[in-house]
Amino acid sequence: MERRSASATPCSGFGRCKGMLKRVLIANRGEIALRIIRACRELDIETVAVYSTADESALHAQLATRSLCIGPAKAADSYLNQDALLSAAKATGCDALHPGYGFLSENPDFADRCVEAELKYIGPSGDVIRKMGSKAAARTLAQQAGVPVVPGSDGPLHSVEQAKELAGQVGYPVLLKASAGGGGRGMRQVDRPEDLESAFQAAQAEAVACFGNGEMYLEKLVLNPRHIEFQIMADTQGHVVHLGERDCSIQRRRQKLVEESPSKALTPQLREEMGAAAVAAAKAAGYVGAGTIEFVLSPEGAFYFIEMNTRIQVEHPVTELVTGIDLVKEQLRVAAGLPLSFTQEDIKVNGHAIECRINAEDPEQNFRPCPGKTEFLHLPGGPGVRVDTALYSGYEVSPFYDSLVAKVLVHAPTRLEAIRRMRRSLEELVIEGYPTNAALAHLIMHDAEFVRGQYDTGFLDRNLDKLLELARTCDKLTASEST
């Protein structure tokens, strides 16, 4: 009983563990701020929440030990305002800062500034973030560590001509990518040589506009790939452990919608190979903290390193459910200088977990974000269900920030049981006041391809019209039944 108690935190029932952080500023909002508050509370670490004037009644501002307004609604003036965040941390006597995801979580300069201000930054060093933030540098690093990368340019492209030559070598279709890109911006697929030049120029212009950096590279496009990512945890003592994979192939325009672990596409042997590659990449980067190594996996089982995310991911609870490890608590331990509370051998994947992201958006209107007041809220419960959300009945979803309002997660002994559990959980979920994508997620859980586990990153684009049509039909049936 009481597994891992020997290696775990040497805590009594009262007070904080020895050597643990004392007070953490949470430089974020929404469900991830809440997630961090929960981990801190369970470790008896005090929390300072920050909020914009638009978030005065937000849950994270209410559940923290203390909370402080840091500026007006616009993110640039509040959650992205480095001076305000650092001032708030110092004025309240914090000894550490957690960036969450999004906002400043992958900004190397901010990480450096935290350290200069004598705040422990809960994440890797600015140098590591900087290195992994450049796709070209990350690619080189992976190659040097012996991790396969997608065939393509081994550094930034000097010219369109170089791009043409390289594309000829690796074979079309190819992908043009901005080094600083993300979320699909600064990226173009090119199917034929004659389209390459215009695509290059368009992507580069976009990259300059969005990220102020026109550095481009090129790679072979893997057709019908899976998006597989490995969760990494590393401590300052040099231990690097992977916690298995997440299959994030259900995406709409590169926005993940459904994640699961384990992936149906991985054999035990492939899992071991990819896990070892992920650990090698993280070790080569000198990584510390929680991070994610992203791969594409071809239908033939060839995998290629794509990038590393140097922060906690939205979908981290999927891994928490199957491993039983609290990743945010581990982040806090590592930031305090403590070793990981587990070794690679301790990591056992138990059963199956699925996450559906619920966004305040209207699938019928091209997924337009739909902020509004949460007129009524009912969350699913019972066995094997976890919900991470900052919603409450009456809460106003702000138009200023992300449209993610809830993460519904299930855990069950087998994948099929997990799918059925997710179906009933989404049936129990009631959010009134604005449209959400919950019905779409529910239909995905009934899709034959998804149920068989045979899907790739093109699944949603291929099936979206069909699924939306189904949703409309269901709506009509429900409406006629209730009259």
Binding site: V50, Y51, T53, A54, E56, S57, L59, A61, Q62, L63, A64, T65, R66, S67, L68, C69, I70, G71, P72, A73, S78, D83, A84, L86, S87, A88, K90, A91, T92, G372, K373, Y392, S393, G394, E396
Partner: protein, 145 residues
Amino acid sequence: MELQELYDLMERFSRSGLTELEWKKEGEEIVLRHTPAPVVQAAVAAPVAAAVPAPAVPAAAPKAEEGDLVKAPLVGTFYAAPAPGEEPFAAPGKQVKKGETLCLIEAMKMMSEVPAPADCVVEEVLGRDGEAVGFGDPLFRIRKV
């Protein structure tokens, strides 16, 4: 919006000949209607609040009439005096001129002076010396003279 501003708005609205006015700004919402005509209650998005979960509500500092408060222009540490042990810039009862320093806020190791917005008498010091203040937190209650 403060009451006085609302009164002015009502008056102007009455005189304007308009039949409806809706105004939403940063969580505030005002609807004015003239004729009993179409009772469009659409605008009512909102019994917000009230039902907000209880634990540790962000210490809503004493709120008073807007015109009488000097609020923090940035987040940081509040200092009432130029240096430890010295006289505070603005004790209650003190009369200050527009632009005179009321307090300091330290942010990023920089001291920012908070000036009086008008000639006024300091009625109450709401910030606590050496402690954190958030953006928009009330620092002083003043009476304009």
